[in-house]
Symmetry: C2
Subunit: 413 residues, 2 copies
């Protein structure tokens, strides 16, 4: 069977999966979810013209000659509904967010004024009508659609939902995800230490990759290398929306993994992708479950998760943004690769003086060195056509978890 | 009082706060936390020389003439401890991760071989000694420090912790955060609709910003504009590690907010920062609580949270990376600004053909337009010395939540 390109494999997966159904969550639980309904404003916001500053409400025409001294006729707090009217030669003290009183057409901030004795205020700067006023409905108009279905719920969106008093909302459900490791060589977390075994790290790294997408997966444990035990574990996994099988899909174990998995009704769509590290990578579906066969090697498993599983899980949750963010970086040193497969090189990112990024390999790219994944900020993508990369070249780096923040502020004031 | 620069305010805050104490968490709960202990390998990993491929273990010297036919003497699965010895002219079938048998010094992958009838394998490519073998201890050596204290726990780090079977670990505690809104004009989420009031969106936007850092805050509600009620609410807030007070710290309300807060033993370190949108922004401390006075305006509140509160909360949790990640982008259009304050312009990011970013304003930058924050991918940073920015210029954009993923894959294969 031919090796699929990364892109074709991604397309095949995304065609096979669909957006999940809808559930209702409280606003407090909505962060990171995707809105499954349209949301409209339930009032004009602000509900009246308000002051944008702490200062004085006045008539712009009174400031033809500066400084001007105006008579202070009152004090308007946010939340007040003022009954006073500002006449020519008058002003009213006003707080940020407080309603503009009748008669006033501008606000001047307190910093541009000074006291002028008993009941008077000296205005030191002329301002036009409309100055520092937020107009009725400037933020949103009653009945207007303020958020579309499909919007990812960020903190800014939470602010809008609270503004329209949306205490509960419809979002796309999260997939239920099961993780199964396979292999006689694996030692479970709670099993006694055996110097000849290999700790089951993949289940936990995959768990964390799933958690990083906002999903709490279920660990099914380790299925040993025999068809009956594997079938039993796989059946449990096929009750979930997504089943991740770690290991067990390479050439040699096809003998029983592939027949076992197909006998359970999984239609396998592909077994091979032209990716390094990574192949073998398998994908299949039943009517309700998407099944990923991930490589047993820890680095390969994590890299394949990011390229294939994360976009699928994001798509099921209704996200429009499925792929890890990429940045352009300058390569600190030459990288040897061979053409044929798209390669993902673990790199650390640092900044250069011009505000750009420099990518440096985490060291040996042996896929057995899982520490290289722990140290990586990103994955440098080497196209399958490349015959190595030169030092100083411009490269594309996919950002991994842990890169939302950086060491220094990154801008000049 | 003079306006502090953003940088000086950040430094003042970071000097005043400290790393919190340590707690023990299970591996399943450790993602995103910061390791508070050094972690060492508890075995050599791999524990023996293992095959990096599914293929055949053999002696490289037997491949002087290609193709070579070798006698197949056995089959080694991962998890087996082989007792056989590969002699000259022999090979053993071997699975990825399985121990190399005695006598063999190389592995050839199955794709470079074919069956040669009963008990024989034809090898079609010469490989040197050491080929496709992962050496004992290649990933980690028993006793070696594999993770330092201060490491942020990403999925890759979870994989390492599982490899050394660290089911429980010491991490820096998360701060307990309380959020208090102030103002007579505010309408609580559960209060009846009043067309003259303004919904309390800030508490929820701040809640989500805190949640995005992995912390579940407590909402204290709304304190009305009177000193006694404010004092009561502030006292509740001062039982937490961090108290965020939304609104109430602008010029006009200093009259009672500042004395009230200082009467409760809070030492105020600053009240003014040269930031737009944003000022007034206040910061103070007691012996146990860091108190932030955030602007009442929703956009200003969120922008100030990202610049001042997020780094503080990250620092308390032990992170080395305190500041939002920045990228360089090309500005799609001119931006008018006035010198004097560091400005943060809400922008959307898109990609250009060369793999770079283009920043486009979300529209009106009135700080009353909270929808602009909901639509933003990032904050374009305009230095305080700038007198506007020209179209096409290179600018720095701070990435906001919701940008870890993007619409398209972003690389060529």
């Amino acid at each position: 069977m031919e090796h699929l390109s990364v892109k074709h494999a991604q397309e095949c997966i995304l065609e096979a999966i669909g957006r999940l159904d809808v559930e209702t969550v409280r606003l407090e639980q909505a962060l990171g979810r995707v809105l499954a309904e349209e949301v409209r404003a339930n009032r004009d916001q602000p509900p009246y013209d308000v002051s944008a500053m702490d200062g004085y409400a006045l008539r712009g025409a009174d400031l033809a000659v500066i400084p001007a001294t105006l008579a202070l006729i009152g004090d308007i707090q946010a939340g007040d509904m003022p009954s006073l009217t500002v006449q020519t030669g008058q002003c009213a003290r006003i707080m940020t967010g407080a309603p503009l009183p009748q008669g006033a057409d501008a606000v001047i901030r307190v910093e541009d004024t000074q006291s002028a004795g008993e009941g008077g205020v000296q205005i030191n700067r002329a301002v036009p009508a409309g100055n520092d006023i937020r107009r009725l409905g400037e933020n949103m108009r009653n009945g207007e659609v303020v958020l579309n279905a499909g919007t990812e719920i960020t903190p800014g969106v939470i602010g809008i939902l609270a503004t329209v008093k949306c205490a509960q909302l419809q979002v796309t459900r999260r997939p239920r995800v099961a993780i199964l490791s396979t292999g006689n060589e694996l030692e479970g977390m709670d099993e006694p230490f055996d110097p000849n075994k290999i700790p089951n790290s993949n289940s936990y790294a995959l768990m964390a990759q799933v958690q990083a997408l906002g999903i709490e997966p279920v660990l099914l444990g380790i299925a040993r290398d025999n068809p009956a035990e594997l079938a039993e574990y796989l059946q449990r996994g096929l009750k979930f929306d997504v089943l991740l099988v770690s290991g067990g899909s390479s050439v040699g174990v096809h003998d029983y993994v592939r027949p076992t998995i197909e006998a359970l009704g999984v239609r396998m769509l592909f077994w091979r992708v032209a990716i390094k590290p990574g192949h073998p990578l398998a994908f299949g579906t039943t009517s309700k479950t998407a099944v990923f066969g991930l490589p047993g090697n820890p680095v390969s498993s994590m890299v394949c998760f990011e390229q294939f599983v994360a976009p699928a899980l994001r798509g099921m949750m209704g996200h429009a943004r499925l792929y890890r963010r990429t940045v352009t970086a300058r390569l600190a040193h030459a990288v040897k690769t061979r053409p044929g497969r798209t390669e993902f090189i673990r790199v650390m990112l640092s900044g250069d003086d011009a505000g750009g990024y420099v990518a440096t390999s985490t060291g040996t790219q042996s896929s057995g060195v899982s520490l290289s994944m722990a140290r990586a900020d990103g994955l440098l993508v080497v196209p399958a056509t490349c015959n190595g990369l030169a030092a100083g070249g411009s490269v594309t780096v996919q950002l991994l978890d842990g890169t939302a923040f950086q060491d220094d502020v990154g801008f000049r004031e």
